[in-house]
């Protein structure tokens, strides 16, 4: 399928009739994924959105249910959002993050109706990355600038338009609504040439899992965490971080139960009711973040919880760069081995 750039907004308008369409829009110097009311709002010339799209399926603050007292009984109301959604021009790294989040919200111990209902009703139309940013490293962590995993359709920018590759039945459904003409052989060739050319710097992760397996007590953590100020700029702009906290906001017997994002970098994250905290200082919390991404998640689900989007690198107020953190862990690991 071929979507001409000058016809793009018309196509988006068609999608808006069926789906809540989320697309990149400009805000100051940033681009963010927002629900659009008209195709003309979408701007597809961007590196990546400042905030990942995870909040569309896993909102930062979500009411799970509300409760009210009524005639000696309690009335519960649950709000599961089953609206049809389509995320347009999601980057392949962010689409991959949903594949990883699926493990957390759908496994043999737990099925999360809130996330899974949204997930089932959401179509992901990806936009491949002709020019990955300097902070991108998706192809070092199992993804790629044109990776199709997790996407229902992939768009490849060939200049005058986008060659669209339909990948799943959900993608087919959206493609039918678009009704765009087929891409010519020449256009498809251009697309595969562009896919071949996209390049980015490699981050060496070989041996990282082994270094972390044996590195819980490594002295490297004493140095790695030192400049970290313990905020959640990294976790809240990370497409795969998914820790949450559940609170009741109520007056007397009436209120609601809310699920809020939480961050392992916060002092209260694992604070016990007794006052004991197994992660008492910034060092243990910093270690937890790295361990969770590159060891625990891999132990539990067979993949690292990082898609290489680079947002944590861009947003860290003190320039903690996960690529260098990985390099330092590997270096410390090999020095221990030598001893």
């Amino acid at each position: 399928m071929m979507i001409k750039k000058n016809e793009l907004s018309g196509y988006l308008d068609k999608l808006i009739q069926t789906y809540q369409v989320f697309a990149p829009v400009e805000r100051d110097s940033d681009t963010c994924l927002k629900q659009i009311a008209a195709g003309t709002e979408a701007v597809l010339d961007f590196g990546n959105t400042s905030i990942p799209p995870k909040d569309i399926l896993f909102p930062q603050s979500e009411t799970l249910f509300s409760y009210t007292e009524q005639d000696q009984s309690i009335r519960l109301e649950e709000d599961v959002d089953d609206g049809k959604k389509l995320i347009f021009a999601i980057r392949p790294c962010d689409a991959r993050s949903f594949m990883l989040l699926d493990n957390v919200f759908s496994n043999d111990q737990y099925q999360d109706p809130y996330y899974l209902t949204r997930r089932a009703n959401t179509v992901l139309v990806g936009l491949g990355c002709n020019e990955p940013c300097g902070t991108c490293f998706c192809d070092s962590v199992g993804g790629g600038p044109f990776a199709e995993e997790g996407l229902d359709m992939l768009l490849i920018d060939i200049g005058e338009g986008y060659v669209a590759k339909v990948l799943t039945d959900k993608g087919k459904e959206a493609a039918l609504l678009l009704g765009a003409p087929g891409a010519s052989r020449e256009e498809r060739q251009m697309a595969s040439e562009i896919q071949r050319q996209a390049a980015m710097d490699k981050v060496n992760t070989e041996g990282l899992k082994a270094a972390l397996d044996s590195g819980f007590y490594s002295a490297v953590w004493d140095l790695l965490h030192e400049k970290c100020i313990g905020c959640a700029a990294c976790t809240y702009t990370c497409p795969t971080c998914h820790c949450f906290d559940i609170v009741d906001e109520a007056v007397d017997c009436n209120g609601c139960r809310i699920r809020n994002w939480d961050a392992c970098m916060f002092p209260l994250f694992t604070l016990h009711g007794s006052g004991h905290n197994p992660r008492p200082t910034n060092k243990e919390r910093f270690r937890q973040r790295v361990m969770h991404k590159f060891k625990y998640f891999a132990d539990n689900f067979g993949a690292v919880a990082c898609v290489g989007c680079g947002r944590c690198i861009i947003n860290c107020p003190v320039n903690v760069d996960i690529r260098l953190v990985i390099a330092d862990i590997l270096k410390a690991g090999s020095e221990v081995d030598k001893k």
Partner: protein, 317 residues
Amino acid sequence: MQGVAGLIQEAAGKLLLDKQVGLVIGFSRGSLPLRSAPCFIRRPDEAEKLVWDRSCENNLANYLRRYRQKVAVVAKGCDSRAIVALLQEKQLERENIYIIGVPCSGMIDRKKVKRLLGGKELLEIEEKREKILLKAKGISKEISSRELLHESCRACRYPNPVLYDQLIGEPVAQWSAGDFNEVLAFEERTAQEKKERLAEELSKCIRCYACRNACPMCYCGECFADCSTPQWVGKGAQAEDNLIFQAVRVFHLAGRCVDCGACERACPMDIHLSLLTRKMVKDVRELYGFEAGVDPEAAPPLAVFSANDAQDFLFEE
């Protein structure tokens, strides 16, 4: 600039070699263009990592409360003011801090750079006298460095350290009277307009607390925003809760905020926090004639009582 970095390295190396301090906190080259990073030097031979340029934007006073042993710190005007404010509040022992003062010409705002480059990624930066050359893919732009400074730097009245044990290089001339034009313009607006403007800014907040954690004066053991028994403010990122969080944070910094702008620089969502913090700075200056972090001997105005304290703002006739 290289000269200043060299002098900082020399000073740090000597302090460590003479065992006057066990740690020097300064800046090293960061991993991105126009990005330096706080760095922690413990061996004299590591001192060569220290740099000084237009991207040394973090307030390093933020780290000092962590250490019990004697520590040296590279301090710009604003870092030194935060040190003074922390000394006033008995959070630091003067004899445990060695201040390597560095006159500062202002730090460059990466968000302004990004806006100038139309959202494109900065690849390289070159400094030529009073001009800065910015390079991104397919574009290069030359602009006066003054224009690229953080707003907090443009309004800075204390580019030179107010307290130091050693001063690196020559003091720079003050370039700003520290005007409050933006705050004054904001004060002129109607209550409704103010509310809308603040809601617009604070709706961007993701409650990551980078502002709070980057602030050298935000050191509460448990922040009211984290407290759950009782819960003072909603923990979700709703605009009205975000505003309560920021408003209380800023009130808590009344007479303590040293106007360094670290909060705004740390914000990943580009929220214009100094609009709020500078309003408080202005009020404290007008009501108590006080500037935080200038005189180590002065008592913070909200920590002392005087019969002459301004109080007309307490009552509405």
